[in-house]
Symmetry: C2
Subunit: 397 residues, 2 copies
Amino acid sequence: MKRNPHLSLLQPQYLFPQIQQRKREFLERNGPVDLISLGIGDTTEPIPNAVVNGMVAAAERLAQKETYTGYGAEQGQEPLRKMIAEVLYHGRVNPKAIFVSDGAKCDIGRLQLLFGPSAKIALQDPAYPVYRDGSLLQGVSNITYLPCTPENDFFPDLSLAAHCDLLYFCSPNNPTGVAATRTQLEELVAFARENQQIILFDTAYAAYIQDSAIPRSIYEIEGAEEVAIETSSFSKIAGFTGVRLGWTVVPETLKYEDGHPIHSDWNRITSTIFNGASNIAQAGGIEVLKPEGLAEVQKLIHFYRENAHLLREALQKQGISVYGGVHAPYVWAHFPDAPSWETFQYFLEKLHLITTPGSGFGSTGEGFIRLTAFNSRENIIRSCKIIANNSLSSLIL
Amino acid sequence: MKRNPHLSLLQPQYLFPQIQQRKREFLERNGPVDLISLGIGDTTEPIPNAVVNGMVAAAERLAQKETYTGYGAEQGQEPLRKMIAEVLYHGRVNPKAIFVSDGAKCDIGRLQLLFGPSAKIALQDPAYPVYRDGSLLQGVSNITYLPCTPENDFFPDLSLAAHCDLLYFCSPNNPTGVAATRTQLEELVAFARENQQIILFDTAYAAYIQDSAIPRSIYEIEGAEEVAIETSSFSKIAGFTGVRLGWTVVPETLKYEDGHPIHSDWNRITSTIFNGASNIAQAGGIEVLKPEGLAEVQKLIHFYRENAHLLREALQKQGISVYGGVHAPYVWAHFPDAPSWETFQYFLEKLHLITTPGSGFGSTGEGFIRLTAFNSRENIIRSCKIIANNSLSSLIL
C-alpha cells in the first residue's frame, strides 16, 4: 500500500502542534514555568448563559421520547439557516445557500473537492495554513502566493493571480488582523468577475469589525453572489471553539464555467461525507442569534477587542510596529531583524509568552509574530507588564 | 472555474435524499398519508438519562469561567480515548491509536486522503454508499466490487481483490445485516497480509452482535493491527445520530510499503482539516462507556434487536427470504422478481412503508430491500401487521 504522494508535500506537523512541542520541550528543560498563551487563537471566556441554557435544553430534549431527534438535515436545521441569513446577512443571502457545518476549518478541508486537483489557487501570504495544507492534501499543485505587507496595506497585488481559478481571501485577516476596506473588496470582486474566478472568502473574525463602513461579508459587495463562497464560524463569535459550529454560504447563483450550479455539488458533498453539525451545538447557535444572545456575545467580543488594544499599546510603547488588533483579535507585530521562530523562542524563553511565529503562515510572515487577544484580562495585563519591563532591544537591531 | 471532474462520477443525489424525494412526491400526489419509516437507519429512542446528564453538565461547564474549555485535542479527549481502548477494545489497542471524530461517515470521507487517488480499492457489493462516493470524490478510479449474496453467505470471493490496495469491509454489514464469522475475518486478515493490503473495517453496528464467538472488532484477529484501520460510531450504540460522535483506530504498527507509519499521517490529516468532535458530545461518549451508561445502552440495543426480530418474522411468514437482523439492526429482504426501486415503490404506495432499495447499495443489491429496526415498537408492530395483511404475491412471481 503506497502513501498518498500529496502527503509528502506537507510539513510533518501542522503549525499549532509544532508550537505545543516547543512549549513542551521548554518545560521539560526548565521545570514548571508559568507560561501565558498568546499563541493559538483559542477563546478563554465562558459562553453566555442564554446560549448554554439553549444547549442544555437541547440535550435534555434528547432524553425524552417525544422530543428526541436523530439525524438532522446535513445542511443544518432550517431555523438556524434562516436566522443566519436574517441576522448575520440581513437577508442578503437565501437560507438555502447556507450550509451549517462543524466549523470553518472542516469546511475549508472539503471545499477544494468542488474544484479538484487541477485548480490553480491563489493565497494571501501570510494566511491561515489550512488553505494551503487542505489544497495540497487534495492534490492541488499550482499555488500562487500573494504577499501582504505593511507596504501594500496588507492588500495584495491581485494581478499576480490573474491566471488563477480560485482566490482564498480572509478578512479580517488571520494572522495579520487587518480588515479589508470596502474599496479593496470591490476591487477583489471586480477582479474575480473579470477573470472568471471563484473567491473563497473567510469571515471567521467578521464580528470583530468595529467600523460599519467595513464590510462584514463579501456579499455586501455587488455582484459577489456570482463569484464568491463565504465560510464562517461561531467559534470566535460565541466561544464555540470546543462546541464546533460554523457555516458556508454557496449562493445558488454561483456557477462553474459550463453553467453547472456549484450549490448542487456542495449539497452532494456535504450530504455524502458529512452528517450535519451536532444538534446540541446548533441549538446553541440559534440562541447566539436571538437578541439576548447577540447582546451577550457583543460583550465577549468587546472584551477581547480591549485585550487586543492593550497588547497593541504595550508593544508600541516598546517601539515595535504593530498591525491589526483593531477589527480583529490578532495583533501582528513586526520584528524584522530576526527570523520569526527566533523571536518566538525569545518570547517563550525570556518573557514566558507563547506567540505564533509569522513564518508559520507563509514566507511573507517571516519577521513577524502573531499575538492573540484570546485570554483573561489578568493574563493580558500580566503580558503587557512583561513586555513593558523587558527590553526587546536584542530583537531590534 | 472548472468543475472537479470527479463530481460527475457520482449520481446527482446521495441515496437517502433520493428516498426523501420519492416520499415527498408520493405525499404531494396523495395528500397526507401516515407513512412508517423503515428507510434510513436513524435512531428513534431517547438517549439514556445518565448520558444526557453528562452532556448537560458539560454544557454547563462552558458557562463558568473556571471550567470553560475551548479547542480540545483534534484527536479527542484523552479520558474518552482511554475508555474506548479499555471498554470497547479491552486493551487490545493503544489509546494513542484512537482518534475521536464527529462520526464514521465524516472519517470515511477523510480516510482516502491517506492513500490518494491512485489506490485500487475493493468494496463489498452491496455496501454503504459512502465508501464508493467518498473514494470517487477523491479521484479514485480503480474500484473492484465484491458480490455478497445468499449463495456465498454474504462473504465475498476475496481472490477478486488480489490486485487491490485497499479493502473496505463492514461487519455487521450495512445493508445486509450479516456479521462475518471469526473464520471469515481470519481469512480476510490473512488475505490482506499476503497481498500487503490495508483493510478499512467499519464496525458501526458491532454493538448489535449477540454471539460472543463473533468478533466485534477486526483487532480480535491476530495480525490485524498491521493491516487494518477500524472506524466506528456512537450513533447506533447510544442514539447519537444527531449528537455526532465516532472514532477511527489507526494502530501505530500500521505502515505503508515504504515503512512510513500511517498513524502520523492520520494525525496530520485530522489536525489539519478537522478540529475535534464537540466537547459536549465527547462528554456524552464518556458517560456511555461507564457501567451505568453501558447498562442503559444495552437496553436500547436489545430493544432495536427485538424490532428486527419482529420484522424478520413478519416477512418470513409471507414467504419472503430474509437475511441479517440478528446481529444487526437491518433486515435484508429478497424480492428477486422485481427491481429494488419497484419493490420500494410498492412498499411506499401500497403498504405505506418506507424502505431502502437494495440497488442503492450496489448492483448486487438489486432484488433486495433493506428494512431498519430503528423505530418505536408501536410502529414496528403496525408495520408487521401491514406486512401480514397484504399479499406480497404480486412481488413474487
